[in-house]
Symmetry: C2
Subunit: 301 residues, 2 copies
């Protein structure tokens, strides 16, 4: 019924966490993994992120009934091509990429005869690489599946059950809608964070040391997000361009509106926005997607 | 040598934390407090935030050698006027406001014959009100003092020693420079966070429920900041207008540049920014202004 031999292609934060989560929560399944970087393969073997670290992607997928691509979204197609020949005919192929329409297209072209169910576990940290993985990464987080219409329902159910076993909640979504939702809940926040951190680094009047020292006023949370993996995020923006530009347009309209309110001293307009935004925070805390404690329980040093 | 009778005007997150910090770390000093809101006064008394909760600001400052205003920056002047008559001639007056040039001016006008040393402890959480206070709020955070040139050095040293006793590090700064530094490390991040949360709430294509569910992709950190006290933040933007508009102009220039890079598919430009921004994060973690653990040690529920 459930997947027995799982191949993980890419052994960074996501791939490593996936291997650890499977070992903890699905002890009867075996895992084989591959990473294009030899140093990452060595480290993954030392850390025991997967049962077997293979020297090629083709070896990793041999005999697999589930293959999960954990590489930047721009690398999905090439990664899939490296193991296409070795992939068992009945294997289900999935991924963990942050954009879905472009990944669905890339994988369908690379593996035209296989069952492909693109997926996106909405979970992560600003860390990257094999040392960043931990088995609880997906617990209580949402995993969005974007199955094409022709994929058998049974395969979608099997993949859903797999992610549920790792602690995730499942949502089925259209890939274009996924890309729009994630543009606003993830991609634009990252772009903004990267940009403001860049702006702050380039000021002449304010030194980098000052920016660091007084970051507790709000900036430090942006730096956390802006420490995320550069390759992954470059690919996200290149692969979800339209939804990102659409949402960015709305954000900059709203920001211009606030800029005008500040310039004009429109106290009511500022107060109104600052009051409205509290509701969404309340929903996030109530639904367990964040922690209400001051500073999330950050400890002083 | 040190302050013995400290009056705290305003008993929300900052005022309450100050009272608790003094009780924990300066047990020989006595505290009296006042808040314009009777419900806040009652709650402050129940929680023991200060030694004595007074019915008027004038009562609270009677006999004080240090008065700290912990009210929104737009309310400083009126708050000072309510106790001006009762203020001992040799009392030092300070505050905790997030903008300094306008506060310096307002307090100098309201209390022309007193020693005024504006201050800003760069510490806070998204919580507000008397229940949000905790005595460790200022530990390992920076407190910026912006003393006017005519204030005796001894008073500045005494106030520095006071904040150091509460665990803070001290920096002396020109008020205009403070306002520029904090515009970038605190005010603009808050404005951006409020704005993107507002943008996300108003979308037609993406529901509020979806925004909440998938907030773990980055958005949730913005909602935390955007849950901060609306009155306080309205006043910050109205009182630090020029520095905020200046920094906002630089940010939107940089954001437009990134928008163009995404539209043109300029992979190198994106990668370059996303790589550069990691350095500042490293500095913040190294200097103990944030926690490097994944998700700051957020616990799953």
């Amino acid at each position: 019924m459930s997947f027995q031999r799982i191949a993980i292609i890419g052994l960074g934060l996501l791939g490593g966490s996936l291997g650890l989560a499977i070992a903890q929560r699905l002890p009867n399944a075996s895992t084989a993994g591959f990473d294009a970087d030899p140093a990452t393969r060595d480290r993954a073997a030392q850390l025991g992120l997967v049962g077997t670290v293979c020297g090629t992607a083709a070896e990793a997928v041999a005999g697999a009934d589930l293959v999960i691509l954990c590489v930047p979204v721009g690398a999905m197609s090439n990664a899939a091509l490296t193991f296409a020949e070795a992939l068992p005919a009945d294997a289900v192929v999935s991924d963990v990429g942050s954009s879905k329409a472009s990944v669905a297209k890339a994988l369908a072209q690379a593996l035209p005869h296989h069952t492909i169910i693109p997926a996106h576990p909405v979970a992560g940290t600003e860390q990257s690489g094999p040392d960043a993985g931990f088995g609880e990464l997906f617990a209580h987080r949402w995993c969005i599946l974007t199955p094409p219409a022709d994929v058998p329902e049974s395969a979608v159910e099997k993949l859903s059950a797999f992610w549920e076993a790792l602690g995730a909640n499942i949502e089925i979504m259209d890939p274009d809608h996924h890309d729009l939702v994630l543009a606003v809940t993830s991609h634009i926040p990252h772009l903004i964070a990267y940009t403001i951190v860049g702006t702050a680094s380039d000021l002449e009047e304010v030194t980098r040391g000052e920016v660091i020292k007084y970051s507790a006023g709000g900036f430090r949370d942006f730096t956390r997000i802006a420490a995320s993996d550069p390759t992954m995020w470059r690919d996200v923006f290149l692969n979800n361009r339209e939804a990102v530009l659409e949402m960015l347009g709305r954000f900059t309209e709203d920001l211009t509106d606030m800029q005008r309110a500040i310039r004009r001293g429109d106290a009511d307009k500022l107060f109104d926005l600052f009051t409205r935004t509290r509701d969404i925070r309340r929903g996030i805390v109530e639904q367990g997607q964040d922690d209400a404690r001051p500073d999330f329980g950050r400890k002083d040093h």
